[in-house]
Symmetry: C2
Subunit: 208 residues, 2 copies
């Protein structure tokens, strides 16, 4: 397959390099540094490089792998994308990488904390269904629960109560991380029900 890659940072370069070894033809574009772009292309078997619009014309698939701040310029520079398959792996982050620049700036947890005045609120146990709680084993692994909160003692207690249920526990930092943990809950619901996987699924953070 011919793949036009827009964005020549770590993601774009690595994706192109691997796909080339799988027999795909890749075309790199959109680097701040034109000589780096040529160097990248010459280091990858059969790869070419050029402008984003050339990449878009070249590709049966266009892979957009840009930092969020440059994404709008990149899409514009790609020109006509009508009918194109555009795969994108952007993370729409604020410039300090601390949160999503697109979407909401609150969560259920944060709204609860506003109303439960003075309480030490912890988000936990929302990323799978109640029917899973009685058996959190998946083969050799435990399902994870993702917890966050602004009070260390409260979070430590939630961690222990999660372990009592049989979870492995992932500490996701401050209560504002509930924005993302609630997204994971939503994704579980979609996968289990709307997309037919059924409720015997659970998220796990793999480590090595």
């Amino acid at each position: 397959m011919r793949i036009g890659i827009i964005g020549a940072g770590n993601m774009g370069a690595t994706l192109g390099r691997i796909w080339a070894t799988k027999g795909h033809e890749v075309f790199f574009s959109f680097s701040k540094n034109p000589s780096k772009l040529k160097e990248l292309a010459s280091s990858v078997s059969g790869a070419r490089s050029g402008s984003p619009s050339e990449a878009a014309q070249f590709g049966e698939v266009v892979m957009l792998a840009t930092q969020w701040g440059t994404t709008q310029d990149a899409v514009k520079a790609a020109g006509d994308l009508k009918g194109k398959i555009l795969i994108e792996c952007t993370n729409p982050l604020t410039p300090d990488f601390s949160s999503l620049a697109v979407g909401g700036n609150t969560s259920g947890s944060e709204e609860i904390a506003k109303r439960a005045k003075g309480a030490k609120v912890v988000k936990a146990f929302n990323t799978l269904g109640a029917q899973n709680l009685t058996n959190l084993r998946y083969g050799a692994l435990n399902a994870d629960t993702f917890v966050c909160g602004d009070d260390a003692e409260a979070k430590a207690i939630a961690v222990q109560l999660g372990k009592d249920l049989g979870f492995d526990v992932v500490d996701c930092g401050p209560l504002s991380s509930a924005r993302y943990i609630e997204g994971l809950g939503m994704l579980w619901i979609k996968l289990a029900y709307a997309l037919g996987q059924g409720p015997n699924i659970a998220f796990k953070l793999l480590k090595r």
Copy 2:
């Protein structure tokens, strides 16, 4: 530990039931059906039941396990929560369970799709770092990539390109699911860098 549970649906009931077997004292509250609440308490060793404010007073920990539509009433009914440890597992869903009621109603992908007019946009490959792409094995498991998009053919191609990289691929449905997949990307970044886990981590959907 004394745990006051607000919300006696599947989550609240199951959490209380399990924690009771681990030696915690539980107090159930907040059911539409008072006789069901008593029945639940009598079926769990040492459990009591009553009002949300009694549950909150009883608990060293208050566990809030309500549907989002009743959460505000539940918090109000709990009364004074100052200094309380409040663990909550709500998913702030719209009444039709199709999306989050709190937070954003767009995503980077959807914004890209608006600008890349006519393109068949697929979200993929955003939930780990480029350095992981060259080795997606975690013990016996492959890392997952989570893809979504509104065009079936484009998504099928993204799935194949993901497999070429060594991913297992989870189809998360329409492009609007990027709201949650981008949250997962944000969570990966937080865990890897802000929270010190380092980049050798990856999300996996466990199944059985």
